[in-house]
């Protein structure tokens, strides 16, 4: 150390000296004061601590009297209000006015058959199978102004709505989709991306067989002659002339119906849609063909 010059020693000292930082300009201790911390018992904001305040509060609906009988418990039981809520089938409604509006604004193409898939692809109408929703319910609001000629497939339709569509020259079919088929129909892209084969539609449950085999409801299981008879019968009942469909340019479109097992137009159950390669994979295994042919329901006992 002694051999170094004074300059060198000064530079060494500077090198080891602490740098000037923000901590060098901090306040002296006690220059600023925070809020005074007081003990819990002094910090009650004007409220005294007592048993009532510290106790658990009564539940909602509690009234003075018998603790075990809150307000909502004094009424007689009516379990039928909600007990079968997990079994009821919901049908989110779509009125004729809304359908007309969707067509007028170009969300739906009336030159193609309109089914649940087309309706859900608009993203304006929503149906969620996980909430036990079973498809479209066509209601009759706007029946007086409905003028579109459409081939419509819905899950439930009122008589007035059917009459309004048929008076405009269109066709209505009510069709049942079981929840799995409905999941595929509501969001086809999601179903295809999973790589699962297109499901086959199952037959309706026992309490809906009557509805979907009835020609008056335009059920998809009713025989075509009965449906034709019901069309003319409804036209007589409501009082309008049924348009002639024989020499119609859109006859083929209006005559298009899905197979009772079919979910999508042009695609058979059992096919796999490969979106990446833009290909269709069709089953060849006889057991698969037998399953997707739908004869399983008929020969369940054999």
């Amino acid at each position: 150390m002694g051999s170094k010059s004074a300059t060198e020693r000064a530079l060494n000292y500077l090198r080891r000296a602490p740098r000037v930082t923000l901590t060098d300009v901090r306040d002296n201790p006690g220059a600023r004061t925070k809020g005074r911390l007081v003990r819990k018992k002094d910090n009650m904001a004007g409220q005294q601590y007592n048993d009532l305040r510290g106790a658990g509060k009564p539940p909602l609906g509690w009234i003075w009297g018998d603790f075990y009988k809150p307000w909502q418990r004094i009424y007689p039981g009516a379990t039928f209000f909600n007990q079968d809520i997990n079994l009821r089938r919901e049908y989110p409604p779509l009125s004729l006015l809304e359908l007309q509006r969707l067509i007028d604004l170009g969300w739906l193409d009336p030159s193609l058959p309109i089914d649940l898939t087309a309706l859900c692809n608009t993203r304006q109408y929503r149906c969620d199978p996980s909430l036990r929703q079973f498809g479209v319910q066509l209601t009759d609001e706007g029946a007086s102004v409905f003028a579109a000629k459409v081939n419509l497939e819905v899950q439930w339709a009122s008589e007035t709505a059917i009459a309004a569509v048929e008076r405009a020259g269109g066709v209505v079919t009510t069709a049942y989709y079981d929840p799995i088929a409905l999941t595929a129909a509501v969001d086809p892209l999601k179903w295809f991306e999973k790589g699962e084969p297109i499901p086959r539609r199952h037959s309706p449950p026992a309490d809906l067989i009557g509805y979907y085999t009835d020609a008056r409801h335009r059920g998809y299981l009713a025989s075509p002659p009965a449906v034709e008879a019901a069309r003319s019968e409804l036209a007589l009942k409501i009082g309008y002339a049924l348009p002639d469909r024989t020499d119609d340019a859109q006859h083929d479109m209006l005559a298009a119906r899905k197979d009772p097992l079919q979910v999508f137009f042009g695609l058979a159950p059992g096919w796999v849609v490969n979106l990446a390669d833009q290909t269709l994979l069709k089953p060849k295994n006889p057991r698969l063909l037998h399953y997707y042919s739908g004869r399983l329901d008929a020969s369940k006992d054999s």
Binding site: P76, E90, R101
Partner: protein, 168 residues
């Protein structure tokens, strides 16, 4: 003498002073309804440990029904008891369902989960006419801006929907 005084003082204090005071205290305790006696399963909103969510009050679900316009419907209390003693007007009116008041509906909504507060549309619903409430001036939307009493229409303005829908 001093010993006698001591003994009598003990007797007096034990018989006159202590025992009646304790009895009065006990009676007072019984009369005052202890608010801390709420059973532990009643004094908080129950959460299902399996699901990790609030559970709806089963008492409410067994007795009330929510309509799509937010009203709750209940039966008349006492409709099943001693009907033979009651008037004919009672025989008829006790079969009615009664709507709850605004505050009661608010309270019942708080006992439910969002699943039960959803609008439900069934086919051939016997309550279809009661899901609509006319002539109400309170706001149509809730704090989230969603319609509370009506079904939201697809791409239709109010001026048009008023001409075709009778739900407001």
């Amino acid at each position: 003498m001093s010993l006698l005084n001591k003994v009598s003082h003990l007797i007096r204090s034990s018989s006159v002073g202590c025992v009646p005071q304790c009895a009065a205290f006990a009676v007072q305790q019984q009369q005052c309804r202890g608010i801390a006696r709420i059973p532990h399963w009643e004094n908080h909103i129950r959460f299902d440990p399996a699901v990790g969510r609030k559970r709806p009050s089963q008492d409410v679900l067994d007795r009330f029904r929510r309509l799509n316009n937010g009203l709750w419907v209940r039966a008349v209390p006492g409709k099943h008891t001693k009907r033979y003693r009651k008037t004919e007007i009672w025989q008829a009116t006790s079969e009615y369902y009664v709507t709850c008041t605004k505050e009661e509906c608010w309270m019942l909504d708080k006992m439910m989960t969002p699943y039960w507060l959803r609008q439900r549309h069934y086919a051939d619903d016997p309550y279809a006419n009661y899901h609509v409430r006319h002539g109400i001036k309170s706001p149509r939307v809730d704090y989230k801006g969603e319609l509370t009493r009506e079904r939201p229409k697809v791409l239709i303005e109010d001026s048009v929907s008023e001409q075709h829908f009778y739900d407001r």
